[in-house]
Symmetry: C3
Subunit: 306 residues, 3 copies
């Protein structure tokens, strides 16, 4: 529900109404599909179906121009995202690894890539154009403290394709209210992603400021503290994940340049899958002291039950 | 055997004799390899080996110019396709999913992609050239009822890389004689694929008319009714698969444009794998009434035994 | 240790000192990471961690220009390679298949691809530039016996990105001293890879002479005799693997041309994985006579214990 309100608010604030329609169509169709299929453990899974479908519904009107055909395309993509969620859950279940946002990424890759061959679905200025990778010029000149703050909060809003520092701030407050851990990890992820880009010479004024080095790291850091026990070692792993996700974004951004499709949250998915697969060997132990700091004494029990 | 006759007939009819040689070389070498390896459950598996190898042998002379070197290359590719079939059978066995035509797709991707670096193997006009994806222009002008009928039957013949509506009609009759279900699904798949392309604005005169939006949907619809029980829910899933395979073709056609290799039947393989992985959650129940309609009362028992 | 000495010697001989620094940084950081993580079966696994990390440390200064930032980038990549090794070991453990050098390939792909977006990390003349695949011209004119001998030994030195026939000869002697089987397989692999390229018309003076058709085949042939029992059938499989790895190199070299990243040893990894997955169906029996020829009567027991 929190995510729903966030997206609704964000899209209205950004004046991009098609994104709201896409979001609602996808959520409605995916829920309908889940009910029609009479899925077994509805209560558990439908959240995941809805979340990935909602992301598809938010992404497609961002990258493709709105028209009646796109509305039908989104409905179709929402059903596909439910099937992909079921398929990936079964595939990854072999290693007890979660699909994360991979159903959204895979469905949206196919949907945006296919649009190049379909005349009734045109890309917006954000899609492509397809190009061969070029070396980035060094652009430290444009870096100001403003770049830094913008990048920090836009890194959080970019999780929902919204390029707006104020929306990022609202999301962060909502996250902190909901869970002190997730909120802290969002700040950690966005900061670490931003500094990783800075350290290796990512273009400041355009890429860093828009939070593109942050959004995968935000998701990655939150996911690590969700799947690993609350411990300092897990925080270190989350920081490492934030670095890896930022570099992976740069790699995937260039790898997907020739076909001309967006990275979406694939950098987060791939790097987090690697850490989840390696989980048993990393095995961090829960830290009571960290739990106290972040959650307070009374909430400690909750944290351990996660 | 039916497929063999179909390909033999089709290639002779099209006057492309190299395709027939390629087909025979691949079938002969793959069978020899299977015997040499003394494969365990020969009777079951050799059909699969032969089928994928035959497709490789049919595809390579279609996309690469015929010469003595290509004959050796096809023999090599046929052995590779047997190994890939064994490897994928073991890999996918974890989820009780069949390799379908993936051994053919993977082997042919490597073989056609490598030809760009090998001077003695040149592509035909059908291979590449490598290019960055471009938006498709809207071309509704060229759409006539003729486009429609051509697309319907060419969609069936394209399963074997044959671009000929009459051959498609022959294949369809052969399929219907062999199995009323497979024949019906071939019509359903080709129709749904064609209309999916039409609905989203695929270029009519060139792409739709040549059945390129149909052949993956034909295979997909037939495969669904092979792996799912005979039920109305399965027919609905087959229709959905036909839509998904058509859009996936458009996506893969553009994704593989920069490296310059063909889609082959990868759109069918990927979308059907997703549905097979999700099979347990989709669980359609057999429908006695549908069985009666399609098979007649006496054949009903056969259908349920599938 | 032998590999370490080989790389140290090779880089000093080639006058490319950054490669030696990269090698040492990666080995040091990966060992430190393995100790910090207190990995369970240290004695067994640390060899694998170190080997893949060392390859990453050798590859990055070969493809990216040396500076202080790159030193930090290599340290980061070394940690990533440890995580990827753990993740792939768990993933592939399902089928009892080893990760081989895939952790190195995957880590180095991400690291080199990301450099296109990072201004402080510039490619050397060996990286890219990104381009669409072009047909290769036939260039038999440049083929001399010298091409042949150069290709044979450079094919062995290229395993460590060193393009030097004398270094290849030293490596071969070291391999033969260490294990007669591995040494023989290195010769077999380099020869078969070279002749495969020759047979299908690979550009002689540039590509074949530099051993690019050999290094994956060398690794593949050695790996087959490591994982399959010592038997004539295994030698035949190793020769087949050498052919497949050479063609796969040509395919991957063109497939990775648009994004502009190197093949590394991916051709070896993919083809060997296919054979390892199919291992049970290939099941060659150990040959006592071959063991005698290659190992002498007294060493036979060792070979069977492998």
């Amino acid at each position: 529900l929190l995510f729903a309100t966030g997206i609704a608010y964000g899209t209205i604030a950004s004046g991009t109404l098609p994104v709201l329609w896409g979001f609602l169509i996808a959520l409605f169709v995916a829920s309908g599909t889940a009910i029609l299929l009479d899925l077994d453990d509805q209560s558990i899974r439908r959240g995941l179906f809805g979340f990935n479908a909602a992301l598809v519904g938010t992404a497609l009107p961002t990258y493709l121009q709105w028209n009646g055909i796109l509305a039908g395309y989104i409905a179709l993509a929402a059903i596909v995202s439910v099937i992909v969620t079921l398929a990936l859950t079964r595939f990854l279940g072999t290693w007890e690894v979660a699909p994360l946002t991979a159903p959204f990424v895979i469905t949206s890759w196919f949907a945006t890539q296919a649009s190049y061959g379909l005349a009734l679905l045109s890309g917006t200025s954000l899609l492509g154009p397809p190009r061969l990778p070029l070396g980035a010029p060094l652009a430290l000149a444009g870096l100001t403290p403003d770049t830094f703050f913008q990048g920090l909060f836009r890194g959080i809003s970019q999780v929902y394709f919204i390029n707006n520092p104020f929306t990022g701030f609202i999301f962060l407050v909502a996250l902190l209210v909901n869970s002190r851990i997730s909120g802290s990890m969002a700040i950690l992820g966005s900061l670490v992603g931003l500094f990783t880009g800075l350290a290796f010479g990512a273009p400041g004024a355009t890429v860093l400021q828009n939070g593109l080095y942050g959004y995968n790291s935000v998701l990655g850091a939150i996911a690590i503290l969700t799947f690993f026990p609350l411990a300092w070692k897990s925080v270190a792993i989350a920081a490492f994940e934030a670095i890896a996700a930022a570099v992976a974004w740069a790699a995937l951004d260039n790898f997907l340049a020739p076909p001309g499709i967006p990275v979406f949250t694939s950098a987060f998915v791939i790097t987090t899958w690697a850490l989840l697969l390696a989980r048993k060997d990393l095995r961090p132990l829960p830290s009571a002291r960290l739990a106290q700091t972040l959650l307070g004494t009374h909430q400690q029990g909750d944290a351990e039950r996660r």
